[in-house]
Symmetry: C2
Subunit: 82 residues, 2 copies
């Protein structure tokens, strides 16, 4: 059993309206921030011992990530079976 954490970010060339809105609001509150980008953070468990990395790439490319406009990276850590 592994725990997987996937970080999904919009590609740099893609406009991020949610991030732009957050930047604006934070600046309005006098936080000296910039370049706020909002992506997705996905956690899951996978009950498989071989080729976990390949499986995660497959899941990302086929379902979790829109690779036309998004990039992803992930971390895999061993988890105790429940």
């Amino acid at each position: 059993m592994y725990k997987v954490k996937v970080f999904v970010t919009l590609k740099e060339s893609v406009i991020d309206p949610e991030g732009a809105a957050a930047t604006k609001e934070l600046k309005k509150s006098d936080f000296p921030v910039d370049n706020v980008r909002v992506g997705k953070y996905i956690e899951l468990t996978i009950d498989q011992t071989d080729n976990v990395e390949d499986a995660v790439h497959d899941m990302c490319k086929n379902l979790l990530v829109n690779t036309e406009v998004e990039d992803y990276r992930f971390e895999i850590e061993e988890a105790a079976a429940k």
Copy 2:
């Protein structure tokens, strides 16, 4: 200048419809996954040298995170000024 990465997750007691849908679809495609939870991953830069951690807590509590239903954690790393 610091780069900040914020991970926002739904509290465990909160139902996650998007995660439940992803779990179902991934299982349908024969991935042996469970407990898919979908949160937010926010990146930003902050141009401040003191009390950066406090500022990030303030931003999270006041704008980026709904602390009624979400938890957050963050990482701060030094970034070269552009």
